[in-house]
């Protein structure tokens, strides 16, 4: 099965092409604002390497978040464009899954971190199992102190991966069971591997089930003063 993978949920963007879980071509860059300009040229590069045409693709896998909202939407819109043009099926995976999967070695529990800005991070716990990882609970958005509290409350050895550099200095200090490691960013080659497994097990989602995983409500600043003025007329 020929798979195109698209990753833009963090400052790192990447595109990969492969047959099942075998990587054939990949393009990668780190530029927080570069997602939209990167994607099509990166796809062109990968297709040129493999000699494939877009119509050859069986599935498009895309990172649906959590992460940068605009990046997530750029990736998902791009994946939808390719899927609409080619009829390829769409698969959505999370950035936390991709980070944990790449880090899956040893015995430590894996806690991937994705920066959500405004002094919050998205995290989730994964247990290494033969051939991958098993998620232990739903992803959540926490403050750095809240994250330290979650780690402190477990009694296992822990590997923190992902963008832990986004945490303030000293956040993990004193947590003796915790080590930090790589990767820092999710990447398309990992999505490819994860999706190949999922497709082989016959688990693809319907296209409209592949939606962004924001984990935060939209920011709405209501001008309450203006809203109260509405009543001015009726009182008068």
């Amino acid at each position: 099965m020929k798979i195109l993978a698209i990753e833009t949920a963090t400052p790192a963007s990447s595109v990969a092409l492969g047959v099942d879980d075998e990587l054939l071509a990949m393009s990668f860059q780190v530029d927080r604002r570069g997602h939209v300009g990167f994607l099509v040229p990166a796809m062109e590069f990968c297709f040129k390497q493999t000699g494939w045409k877009p119509a050859d693709i069986d599935a498009v896998v895309v990172d649906v978040g959590p992460g940068l909202f605009t990046g997530i939407r750029a990736g998902l819109a791009t994946a939808q464009g390719v899927a609409a043009a080619t009829g390829a099926q769409l698969v959505g995976l999370t950035s936390l899954d991709a980070l944990a999967f790449r880090a899956a070695t040893g015995h430590r529990m894996i806690w991937p971190v994705v920066d959500m800005r405004r002094e919050e991070v998205a995290v989730a716990a994964y247990r290494p199992v033969p051939g991958g990882v098993m998620k232990e609970g739903a992803p959540e958005v926490v403050s750095p102190a809240g994250f330290a509290g979650l780690l402190d409350a477990t009694d296992s050895d822990i590997l923190v991966v992902g963008d832990h550099q986004a945490l303030p200095d000293g956040t993990l200090r004193g947590l003796h069971r915790v080590r930090t490691g790589r990767p820092r960013w999710p990447s398309a080659d990992v999505l490819l591997e994860l999706a190949a497994g999922r497709l082989a097990r016959g688990e693809p989602a319907a296209p409209d089930e592949v939606r962004p995983l924001y984990l935060r409500e939209p920011d709405v600043v209501i001008n309450w003063k203006d809203f109260r003025e509405e009543a001015a007329w009726k009182q008068g």
Binding site: G37, P41, F69, T70, G81, A84, A85, T86, I222
Partner: protein, 338 residues
């Protein structure tokens, strides 16, 4: 450009409407829209993150519907166009990224279109005879600008608002009056039974022939209401709405025809959501016929943000052999003619 080619799909996501349209040359084949007005109404204005989220939910389905309504398969397209700017970055990205990858995967040319050029060319979609040289007034919640269209693709912005857009001023004043969101239609309805001469609201920037300023309108409304409420001399709300509307319409019409007279054109166009205002349309028609110039205002659904106008502008650029690099990004403050 011949009348019925090229066949172009246009995608518009610069603000709060997901608009997809298909044209064949200057012929409209389909125009579908997912409006988010209800989603934004409870906040009294457009919330950028809410807009961006709604676009990503709607875009694939709407594209499918626009093609189906046009009776076309995507392989029938000669090109894909999308709004590149100006607009809200998170909203623009959705349509632009989708359109680029769709064009690339279909192996069709891609054109990034200036949103304002879409509005400028929209009159062609429902009227034969709209052509340069012309003066066009674009008035919406996002922009208020008078443009001299010298030739196809050659535009000069003569003047614009220095603060709020006309639609924004109507939204703000309607909200103060408790008339709801969006403000334009609410004021239009309320003004119907009111006296436009009841209150003398200011007409700003009389000394600058083509520029607008609407930010003072809300302040003078608030001052007026407070003073007259205390004195117990508040007129009917319909009179206030009609007077406000007249103040906005007066300057829009005056500055447009300042440009018509100075440029000596015989064709006038209108676009943007504020063009739905009945009083504005009536006044533009009166002034046009008094001068013997031809007025072109598209149907309301082609005045407000829509995909067909983007498809139309894209078709014209494709005909001139212009395409846009697939490595390009959106441009939130894209200038007309850039």
């Amino acid at each position: 450009m011949s009348d019925e080619s090229p066949v172009v799909l246009g995608i518009e996501t610069s603000c709060d409407e997901t608009g997809i349209g298909v044209v064949a040359g200057s012929k409209l084949l389909s125009n579908v829209l997912a409006s988010q007005v209800d989603q934004h109404a409870r906040f009294g204005g457009v919330v950028p993150e809410v807009a961006a989220r709604a676009h990503v939910e709607a875009i694939r389905y709407l594209t499918h519907r626009a093609l189906a309504q046009a009776g076309l398969h995507q392989s029938d397209l000669d090109g894909v166009a999308a709004t590149r700017g100006p607009g809200l970055v998170g909203a623009l990205v959705v349509g632009y990224a989708f359109a680029k990858s769709l064009a690339w995967a279909l192996d069709k040319p891609f054109v990034g279109v200036n949103h304002l050029e879409g509005h400028l060319l929209a009159p062609m979609l429902s009227n034969a005879g709209f052509e340069p040289p012309a003066v066009v007034l674009l008035a919406s919640g996002g922009h208020t600008v008078v443009i001299h269209m010298k030739a196809w693709g050659e535009y000069e912005s003569l003047g614009a608002t220095i603060d709020d857009a006309a639609g924004e001023a109507l939204d703000k004043t309607a909200r103060f009056l408790g008339l709801g969101y969006p403000g334009g239609p609410a004021i239009d309805r309320e003004a119907e039974s009111g006296d436009p001469a009841a209150v003398a609201f200011p007409r700003a920037l009389a000394d600058r022939p083509y520029d607008f300023s609407f930010s003072g309108l809300k302040t003078s409304l608030i001052t007026y209401v407070r003073e007259h409420r205390d004195a117990g001399t508040l007129p009917a709300i319909s009179d206030v709405a009609a007077s406000l509307q007249e103040a906005v319409v007066d300057v829009l019409v005056e500055k447009t025809f300042n440009a018509v007279d100075a440029m000596g054109v015989k064709v006038v166009g209108g676009g943007g959501g504020v063009m739905a205002n009945r009083r504005l349309r009536q006044r533009l028609e009166e002034e046009s016929s008094a001068r013997g110039v031809k007025l072109f205002i598209p149907d309301t659904e082609l005045c407000t943000d829509n995909g067909a106008m983007i498809a139309m502008a894209g078709a014209q650029r494709l005909t001139r052999g212009e395409t846009t690099d697939l490595g390009s990004d959106v441009s939130v403050s894209l200038r007309l003619g850039a």
